[in-house]
């Protein structure tokens, strides 16, 4: 057990983390590209057209994984923030800050693909559907986090502010989701919400799960890249950065 603890402790030191992530990234990229190709092939080619929505339903292979990721990243951002505040783990603070733009990107992607999917089905670009509305609010939560981080000069202070905001947001997400669902079914009546996934034959479902995993691996890659950049920025006048820069 203490090997894991030692390794986690080692990861805490920026130079070790930088080298370790450098070695890890190529492998992750290979895995990610492989999963994406498999998922896209499964989703775009193999999966039979949906009897009702025909080929337009294939948009779910981007929309649904992106929506899952937007929530997943917000939760992991808030947890990383909490670890950063409570145990003053610098790396957790950096994970919290660097996850925000990636999460915002996935949320925006989920919104746009949601409306692109809605247009052919219901003729309008925007539907006040419960899921899409929650996604829209989540996007504003992300914008709040990013705007707050940019507004504070001292980066250590900004990291603590963002962590507090992310935690407050995390507590509010279920409340917002429940009240939007309630608000939505109230005005429209309890029809099946428009964005329920069509009944999934396995050949449709597998590519969806593969895409979801591919997005998670992608998130890990983008996170590591952003963390490396943030580390260089923060430790720009420390010895290990100078050596590293001097070499390359």
């Amino acid at each position: 057990m203490n090997i894991v603890m030692k390794w986690i402790h080692l990861l805490g030191s920026p130079p070790y983390f930088y080298r370790f992530s450098g070695k890890l990234l190529p492998w992750l990229t290979v895995i990610c590209v492989g999963l994406l190709v498999w998922g896209l092939y499964g989703g775009l080619v193999q999966a039979p057209a949906d009897y009702q929505q025909s080929d337009a339903f294939r948009i779910i292979y981007v929309h649904v994984p992106a929506a899952w990721m937007s929530l997943f990243i917000y939760v992991s951002m808030a947890i990383a923030g909490a670890i950063g505040i409570i145990w003053h783990v610098k790396m957790a603070e950096i994970v919290c800050i660097t996850s925000a733009p990636i999460g915002a990107m996935f949320t925006f992607l989920a919104l746009v693909t949601g409306s692109l999917w809605g247009k052919p089905m219901w003729g309008t670009w925007w539907v006040w559907d419960a899921r899409l509305t929650s996604e829209l609010i989540l996007l504003f939560l992300y914008f709040g986090v990013i705007a707050l981080y940019r507004a504070i000069e001292d980066k250590r202070m900004a990291a603590r502010a963002v962590a507090i905001l992310a935690l407050v947001g995390l507590v509010n997400i279920p409340i917002i989701h429940y009240s939007v669902e309630w608000w939505n079914t109230l005005h429209q009546g309890p029809t099946v919400t428009k964005f329920d996934k069509p009944s999934m034959a396995t050949s449709m479902l597998i590519p969806l799960l593969v895409m979801a995993i591919a997005f998670k691996v992608y998130y890990f890659i983008a996170l590591l890249l952003r963390m490396r950049t943030e580390l260089l920025q923060r430790e720009r006048n420390s010895k290990w950065v100078k050596e590293l820069v001097g070499l390359s």
Partner: protein
Amino acid sequence: MSDIVSLETRNLECIRDDRVLFSQLNFSVKPHQALILEGDNGCGKTSLLRILCGIRLPDQGQVMWNGLSIQESISEYYQDMVYVGHLDGVKGDLSVAENLRMCTALGSRSGMSIEDALNKVSLSGYEDVRAQVLSAGQRRRVALASLLLKRCSLWILDEPFTALDRTSRGVFENIMSRHLNQGGMIILTSHHSINLTDSSVYVINLSA
């Protein structure tokens, strides 16, 4: 006062926008001692004071109060410490007495009445004066009067003598000396020379 009463720092370090203000800073202050922090502007005197108060987190190292890190024993530490920063914390809309009553309600009380405290800082009779009509020097003395109203052994003062005239400075030096004689501790920054009668005064120059 128990004998282990002391404020101690262990290799304290502070970085402000990529500049290391100080590092590996170790010192301790015991009862009857005063510590004067000197150094030119921007060398981190105020940052150090704010770290000692626990307002700001140090980048490295720890501040210990009675052998315990202040993060763990924050409420005991604040029970015994009072900080007067650049800002006096005096509200213009309230009268002097109302301001002082609020300050004492926040922390532990020394039992001294507001009138006595104001007499000691030669502001007697100013109880009901609205604080916004006071001069900067008078407002500073109101902030210093709140020190007397609190039962705190450790005083942390950020340039207490700004805006004070010569006589007030003399008055406050006596107050500080008496506090030290009674076993109090003082950490302060100042550009003026300070003579505290017969108490052990140490000086640390941050920009040395």
